[in-house]
Amino acid sequence: MGELSRFWRESNHRYRMIAIKCGNCNEVYFPPRDVCPKCHRESIGKMQETQLSGKGEIVSYTIVHDAPPAFMRQRPYVLALIKLDEGPTITGQIVDADHGALEIGKRVRNVFRKVREDGKSGIIQYGYKFVLEE
């Protein structure tokens, strides 16, 4: 059940890319943090939710051929480091892409996709993935 409650607790940022902005230094954190690692106690009580645009660019990427069971139907799949327009760099899957069209620096936008299923009877976890902007 630990996985279930974590999934539920994180749905705001996984579903809608809600980040946290430090009210002290204006740094944006995604996934959200409770305390700013730069401002420490100065940030307490000043961390505010902020909506990300879901857009950014590819910093680097890799094509995964040795896939875990949950991703076997998508093999080979693309994982990328994406620098979001608001600042944070995150890891995300790029879907529906011709692998030959992938390039560092290319623009991406987020889409809502199924991330994993907890077996045949468990919860279905949804979240953000990315597609190339066309």
């Binding site: 529906d96 996709r113 199924k114 949804y126």
Partner: protein
């Protein structure tokens, strides 16, 4: 008057041709193509389902109409392929678009007309003053058993319509439904694939209800086919809606823009709504539209709409148009299709 305030659609990028399906099952591709007039159908990726398709369509509708989530008073999702048997898709959509906690939500089921039934209910809620505006979604990742005739048509897609009273781009002048207990197509609880009454699906089911609802509505609002710029019908294949349109007296020019099945297959609950979406992409102020859905089991919902001046102020390109969605395609063969649709029995090393 209440009507459509905004609209948005989503069609998965993957496509398969009937020739490829016919090749695997040893059927004649020419006779399949001619028989059902489907040239390709959309295929959902393994990480897409009705929830993801509904969310993408909902986001496109909100983006196109620049509608904040707090304005959405209800979300109803019509589908026959909801990812959960118990846990509404509407809850996932509401969370993903950031809708209010204080909101009406439910999933609807009436074969291929569940989405248009949702449109009628949202309109009724708006008209009664229960909500300011609400969202009706029709989405499906429909199922066709391997080797069955349905496998050539059952596809995936979704459309969201936001209905309200302010900034209406297409007024819903009137709507009605016809309903009967007709066993043309069904799926029993726990069964992975539906069963159809073969030729029984035509005259006593699709044509009786679709044509019946269209005629009754035109009679009620005192119109004839000549009064409409566009007509769109449920489209289980390319042939049925063409025949229904012609029987009613509509010309090719009136129904060709809303006929998408030849390119994307039958998107079930999304079929008529996505055709309407394609029409709204190009419609001009004053254009009148007749839209009729059909759901097996069976029934039809008919809508008489008039496009308003408000459509000129809407940035329709703020979200992908149907033409754009049709142009973004990745072709797959039957093996990839079977893998994506989980039609292959796998071992424990694959989820």
């Amino acid at each position: 008057m209440s009507g459509i305030v905004s609209y948005g659609s989503y069609i998965p990028k993957y496509r398969i041709k009937p020739d490829e399906i016919a090749r695997v099952w040893g059927e004649d591709p020419e006779s399949i193509r001619n028989g059902i007039y489907i040239l390709s159908k959309s295929v959902p990726s393994p990480d897409e389902d009705v929830a993801t398709i509904s969310v993408e369509a909902a986001r496109n509708a909100m983006m196109r109409g620049n509608i904040p989530p707090r304005d959405i008073g209800s979300i109803y999702v019509g589908s026959e392929s909801h990812p959960y048997a118990v846990k509404p898709t509407a809850t996932i959509v509401a969370s993903a678009i950031g809708a209010n906690f204080n909101m009406f939500a439910a999933d609807y089921e009436f074969a291929c007309k569940a989405g248009t039934a949702a449109m009628q209910n949202v309109k009724a809620m708006v008209d009664s003053g229960m909500i300011k505006s609400g969202m009706a979604i029709g989405a499906d990742t429909s199922q066709g058993a391997p080797g069955d005739a349905l496998e050539y048509s059952a596809s995936a897609g979704g459309t969201a319509m936001i209905i309200g009273k302010e900034k209406v781009i297409a007024e819903i002048n009137d709507t009605l439904s016809v309903t009967s207990d007709t066993p043309d197509f069904w799926r029993r609880e726990g069964q992975p694939y539906p069963t159809h009454g073969e030729r029984f699906t035509g005259e006593p089911a699709y044509f009786k209800h679709t044509i019946g609802a269209a005629k009754k509505l035109m009679e009620r609002v005192s119109t004839t086919p000549k009064d409409y710029k566009y007509a769109v019908f449920h489209q289980p294949n390319g042939k049925f809606p063409t025949r229904a349109a012609k029987q009613l007296g509509f010309s090719d020019d009136q129904f060709k823009d809303g006929l998408l099945t030849p390119q994307i297959g039958n998107t079930y609950s999304a079929a008529m709504m996505t055709g309407l979406s394609a029409i709204l992409d190009i419609a001009e102020a004053g254009d009148r539209i007749l839209a009729v859905s059909f759901g097996s089991g069976a029934g039809s919902d008919a809508f008489d709409l008039t496009v308003t001046d408000q459509i000129d102020t809407m940035d329709r390109k703020a979200a992908p148009t149907i033409r754009e969605l049709l142009s973004k395609v990745i072709w797959v063969d039957y093996a990839i299709y079977a893998k994506f649709k989980k039609k292959i029995v796998t071992g424990d090393n694959i989820e």
